[in-house]
């Protein structure tokens, strides 16, 4: 009876305690940028960025003003007029660079992209060759947009949710007419462990 009782006690006590060990660590692994990674929060993550830019690219390529014009339009796609008014810290170039590069690849000459962010490089080269710096080619359209968020917190449960609304607008630089618009929105929620609430 007694050995049995002692054994039960031991099992009970040892079972109640748990040792965790992360000494071995974890080697670096590749993760698909279009899928949710092992670490995530409620901000904009790689899968959001990939999905959003792919959606906008397809939408722009389907727009006749942009992709089927008689003369390929000259377009500026950069982050200059792409505003971040959200509560998410982000390098906006991640969005506009991916969009421009993938559009350029897919458009196959149907749109011409101006590298305004390389202007200085072009001018310096001209200067080095002793040539007069050329006038910058004018653009027909330029991308603008906005990142906005709406946050909600439940202080009792520690749950947080963030709604992102990312708008894209292509503006005709002659008259300010918006010739194409796109929107990407998503909401994420998460709840931290009770000890962090």
């Amino acid at each position: 009876m007694r050995p049995c009782f002692s054994l039960c006690l031991l099992i009970l006590l040892l079972g109640a305690c748990r040792s965790t060990d992360d000494r071995a660590g974890r080697p670096a692994t590749y993760e698909a940028p279009g899928e949710q990674g092992t670490l995530s929060g409620v901000g904009i993550e790689s899968q959001d960025l990939v999905g959003m830019t792919d959606q906008m690219m397809r939408d722009m390529l389907a727009n006749p003003n942009l992709a089927n014009a008689q003369n390929p339009p000259r377009i500026v796609v950069d982050s200059e007029y792409f505003r971040n008014e959200s509560s998410t810290r982000i390098d906006k170039n991640l969005i506009t660079d991916r969009l421009r590069i993938n559009l350029n690849r897919a458009a196959d000459g149907r749109m011409i992209f101006l590298g305004r962010h390389f202007t200085e490089m072009v001018e310096m080269e001209k200067e080095r060759l002793g040539e007069t710096p050329p006038d910058l080619p004018g653009a027909d359209y330029r991308l603008g947009g906005r990142i906005a968020t709406l946050d909600a917190v439940n202080h009792k449960t520690g749950a947080i949710s963030r709604y992102h609304q990312i708008t894209f607008e292509m503006v005709d630089l002659q008259d300010g007419v918006i010739i194409w618009s796109g929107i990407h929105e998503f909401r994420k929620s998460a709840q931290d462990d009770i000890i962090y609430r």
């Binding site: 007694r2 002692s6 006690l9 031991l10 006590l13 040892l14 109640a16 305690c17 748990r18 040792s19 965790t20 060990d21 992360d22 000494r23 660590g25 670490l39 995530s40 929060g41 409620v42 901000g43 505003r83 971040n84 008014e85 959200s86 509560s87 998410t88 810290r89 982000i90 906006k92 968020t149 946050d151 917190v153 202080h155 520690g158 947080i160 998460a190 709840q191 931290d192 462990d193 009770i194 000890i195 962090y196 609430r197």
Partner: protein, 416 residues
């Protein structure tokens, strides 16, 4: 088996059991400590002034990583290593933003057998909010107003976790800075909305003029402290920092002295957070510990009385002694459990934070200049030993500038 032998056997079992219980309670979360070479390599590019604090970042591992980055980042900011400070606050913010939904350390910290301090530090809402405050200032300094605004918004969000409703989202400093970031961006509508919110919280605050281009920030005093109180130190209480007397700030620029407005009392933010959910868990652990102690004590009293009875009784002496030993054995269990329950609150805190933050804005010529910061006591006396010269930092496009200073050094007393 005679009585003496039985007593020895039972005592041995009791000892072995107690030892096993204690050993089981000591099971812990292990992390491979960094080697001396790894620490040296990490510290190689760190400036000597702040190296002791970065040594702690490297040495202490993930348990105190956020806390150590907060301390080191603030020391780096105070000594002018802005890029390093930004890296530190960025690292801290990334971890603060990570959701600890399935973290073994967090699970351990919730259990009976570990102290709350077992968890990886993410700070209380006021500490998290201050992380975003400093990160936002560093973004402001280099002209990234949009990300600065995102930081201030995130800081306000941290304050939304406060338990006391009337003190939720009342971090006027961050709301003002959100407005200032919008002001620098030319988003006057967003700036005005933020300033209106500031006026609701601080009716006597003078909102910036649309032409203002210089933000002056001065910090006074020492960080609010976290102390453990109550039975077994399960209750966390906040106390104002000590060892300082200044609570006003002014600046002297171009021969003129300008008072700064005390917009945020950090100690007040800490003290008005209200109860935390973990406090209820700790309180439950204290009750459980007490009950086990009471049961164990009662059982061992009964065992002792039975033993006395056995020695005076003429009948059933052996049975009574056996019963006494059995009760003694059983009493060990709740006592041992009670001794291993650790309901102690986590009192780690960000100790180089200020007590109060003061701000003002003005129109300044776009030139690289310095200004003198003066700190006064309550009675208005200037403390000359605290006066500092600080530089006005213009962002690259020279749309706005920032001057930040503090009365107390953020370099904590550490051995190099």
């Amino acid at each position: 088996m005679n009585f003496a032998n039985r007593h020895r056997t039972t005592s041995s079992i009791v000892r072995v059991l107690a030892a096993l219980i204690l050993l089981a309670g000591c099971a812990s979360y292990e992390e491979k400590p960094p080697t001396a070479g790894e620490i040296q390599s990490y510290l190689r590019d760190k400036p000597p002034d702040v190296r002791p604090l970065y040594r702690e970042v490297a040495q202490d591992g993930s348990h105190d990583y956020v806390l150590n980055q907060m301390r080191a980042g603030l020391a780096a900011l105070d000594t002018g290593y802005f890029d390093l400070a930004e890296q530190s606050f960025e690292e801290a913010a990334i971890r603060i933003e990570s959701i600890y939904a399935d973290n073994p350390r967090a699970a351990s910290a919730r259990s009976l057998w570990y102290e709350e301090g077992m968890k990886e530090f993410k700070g209380e809402p006021y500490e998290r909010a201050m992380t975003y405050y400093y990160l936002g200032l560093l973004y402001l300094r280099r002209g990234d107003f949009e990300n600065a605004r995102a930081c201030f918004k995130n800081g306000i969000l941290q304050d939304a976790f406060a338990e006391e409703e009337q003190n939720r989202c009342d971090f006027a400093l961050l709301i003002f800075l959100e407005g200032w970031a919008s002001h620098c961006l030319g988003d006057s509508a967003l700036a005005e909305a933020a300033y209106e919110e500031v006026l609701r919280l601080r009716p006597d605050f003078q909102i910036p003029d649309p032409c203002d281009n210089l933000l002056l920030i001065a910090e006074t005093g020492h960080a609010p402290r976290k102390l453990a109180d109550g039975v077994g130190h399960y209750e966390m209480v906040y106390r104002r920092g000590k060892g300082f007397s200044e609570n006003r700030a002014a600046v002297r620029l171009s021969g003129e002295t300008r008072q700064l407005y005390p917009i945020e009392d950090i100690a007040w933010q800490a003290m008005t957070r209200g109860g935390r959910p973990i406090d209820r868990i700790l309180a439950g652990q204290v009750i459980f510990k007490k009950r086990n102690e009471e049961i164990g004590t009662a059982l061992s009293d009964v065992a002792a009385n039975t033993m006395i009875l056995a020695s005076t009784s003429e009948k059933n002496q052996d049975e009574l002694r056996a019963l006494s030993l059995a009760l003694g054995l059983v009493s060990v269990l709740p006592l041992a459990i009670a001794s291993k329950i650790k309901p102690r609150a986590d009192t780690r805190y960000w100790d180089n934070l200020p007590d109060v933050v003061h701000v003002t804005t003005l129109r300044a010529p776009t030139a690289d200049r310095t200004l003198s910061a003066l700190f006064r006591e309550k009675d208005g006396n200037i403390q000359p030993s605290l006066s500092r010269t600080c530089k006005i930092h213009w962002e690259p496009a020279r749309r706005a500038s920032l001057a930040w200073t503090r009365s107390q050094s953020a370099l904590l007393d550490r051995e190099n």
